[in-house]
Amino acid sequence: MKKGRIKVMMGNEACMEAALLAGCRFYAGYPITPATEILEVMSMRLPLLDGLCLQMEDEIAAMVSVVAASWGGGKSMTATSGPGFCLMQEAIGLAVAVEAPCVIVNVQRGGPASGQSTSTAQGDFYQARYGSNGDYSLIVLCPSTAQEMFDHTIKAFNLSERFRTPVIILSDEVVGHIREKVFIPDADQLTFVPRKRPTVPMEEFIAWKADADGVPPMPDFNTGYKIPVISQAKSLDGNRGNAKEADENIRRIVSKIEDHMDEFAEVLIYGAEKAETAFVTFGSVCRAARSAVDMGREKGLALRSVEVKTVWPFPDELVRRALAGAKRIVVAEMNLGMIKREIERVVRQPEIKIELFSKIGGIYPQPQEFLRFLEEKR
């Protein structure tokens, strides 16, 4: 049993607690519902830790400063929602290109454009993965409880350091605003991944030459290395790369993550593991699906809910395994069918029909609706 304390708090607040424990000392953001609380609590707490919380002039500036602060030496993060997430996309690509560890929280709301600012949605599923230009990869985690907002934030900082990549926490309004019990372990009960530092003498250090794991060591600015960090596809010494060097650079920043998915990919099964009927869920919808599984059990109905916790890179193999033996698959999500496309791609069994239980408009699905869906669509 880990030592720690239990506190009732909002999902957004749990995220902040975890970030501070993980050592985040620079936060830059811009107010936007339903993510604003993270900016507010950071502005309250960071000064007490000699950190800095900046409300920037827009989300572009916020995200860029987070990327640069990471190179400046230290852990940094931002949080936003839909429209702000759009503005951050170019700089998320920048974080990928300059391999800057950092964490971005997107507390999803309805879209497109201003959409529904105070209502929940899961329409940024693909944007989180493909929102920036060019070929790249990054890690996206989907919490469904305030506790997971805490746990995933710790995990996000660790993965960002391990792979030198931006990590996105794709939350939503329900998870961000829910108030529930959160267990906060003492700092000494947690593991924190330190930044990988150069081990060769300074004059032998080549800024963008990766180790065997695909990740180059990263010195801070003003520690003597005098590195060129440019947003272009680069050569190993950091200049604009030629065709071959650009090719190698891009392939490496993708494969350093996608070749090591076994280190972080997470898919859970709730309920009867061998049930023929399976829900597939992510984010806050996992909660209602769990209740539906429990209600089904009371009625003598065996159900399983497959919860995809790390949605990108999509954990094909884990999802395939979690859905093994299922005859009926119902994908439940608060959009018009996004993760469903991935499930169709992964399952590829023509005899299994993949159905969509979709809720949009900002209304969270009720557990009864899951069971009604099963009956009505039979």
Partner: protein
């Protein structure tokens, strides 16, 4: 090689990508002279965006962050915030700094955060092939104003002053000694310093706006059109004559942002301790 180049250039990155006759090389030399005179090479953290002038710091053997178009100043803020003791210098252009990145200039100046922003003004988008910039004069024909520019140019120095910058200067590549002196002042200035450098672009501005692609012609144009004055109150008069006033316009002392942050942090920590422990 010039001894300054020998000492400070990232030699494996040479040759420069600048066109023959470009002013950027002169700015490199003026800046490196200032760095050498002050002996601050190890304290420098450079930030830049996209455009010809954004490549200036990349050739310097310092820590350099060259990020997105228009976003050099937010990057500089991230670097400054993560270690306030470093000297942060931004190299930007008139498009990068006044158009796509104009908002960041206003807000960084407003904060009076300690950094030096060098804006290289060649009156055109040069790297993309000669399109109109916010600094291009009325009537100028460019690739995107084929019938003449209708928009009035923006004066970066005036924006910096109005937004709260505490040091503002403008020189040109025809004033390299003054430029080095001003860079030294800016590097030593505690607060937001803004240095505009009018620079010749023979390939775009010269050929399409001023009427000649000759570097000599373009440098001479700067000499003929820039009027150095000591008293900023004379700027309006010079502008009324259709000339460009240059010189050190402003240097005042105001509380610097990161120092204010450290003061605030100290105060709230003491108050929290007095109340007994954390929350």
């Amino acid at each position: 090689m010039n001894p300054l180049g020998e000492k400070y250039l990232r030699k494996s990155f040479l040759p420069f990508l600048f066109c023959p006759g470009c002013g950027d090389g002169m700015i490199v030399q003026s800046f490196l002279q200032a760095v050498d005179d002050l002996g601050v090479a190890d304290d420098l953290a450079m930030a830049a965006g996209i455009g010809c002038s954004a490549w200036i710091p990349v050739y310097m053997h310092f820590d350099v962050f060259k990020g997105l178009h228009g976003r050099a100043i937010p990057a500089a803020i991230g670097l400054k915030a993560s270690r306030p003791s470093r000297k942060v210098v931004v190299f930007t252009g008139d498009g990068d700094g006044l158009a796509i990145g104009g908002l960041h200039l206003i807000h960084a100046a407003r904060r009076n955060i300690d950094m030096t922003v060098v804006i290289v003004n060649n009156q055109i988008y040069a790297m993309t092939g000669g399109q109109v910039a916010p600094s291009t004069g009325v009537g100028s024909r460019t690739q995107t104003t084929p019938y003449g520019n209708l928009e009035k140019p923006l004066d970066g120095c005036k924006i910096a002053i109005a937004s709260g910058a505490t040091m503002v200067s403008r020189w040109s590549t025809a004033h390299t000694r003054q430029l080095t002196r001003t860079f030294k002042k800016a590097l030593n200035h505690k607060g937001f310093s803004f240095v505009e450098v009018l620079s010749q672009c023979p390939v775009q501005t010269g050929r399409y706006i001023l009427g000649s692609g000759s570097p000599q012609f373009n440098l001479q144009w700067l000499k003929d059109n820039c009027v150095a004055v000591k008293d900023p109150s004379q700027w309006g008069e010079i502008e009324a004559q259709g000339k460009i006033p240059v010189g050190d316009i402003l240097q005042i002392e105001k509380p610097e942002f990161m120092e204010e942050v450290q003061r605030m942090n100290q105060k709230v920590k003491e108050e929290a301790q007095a109340k007994g422990g954390d929350r």
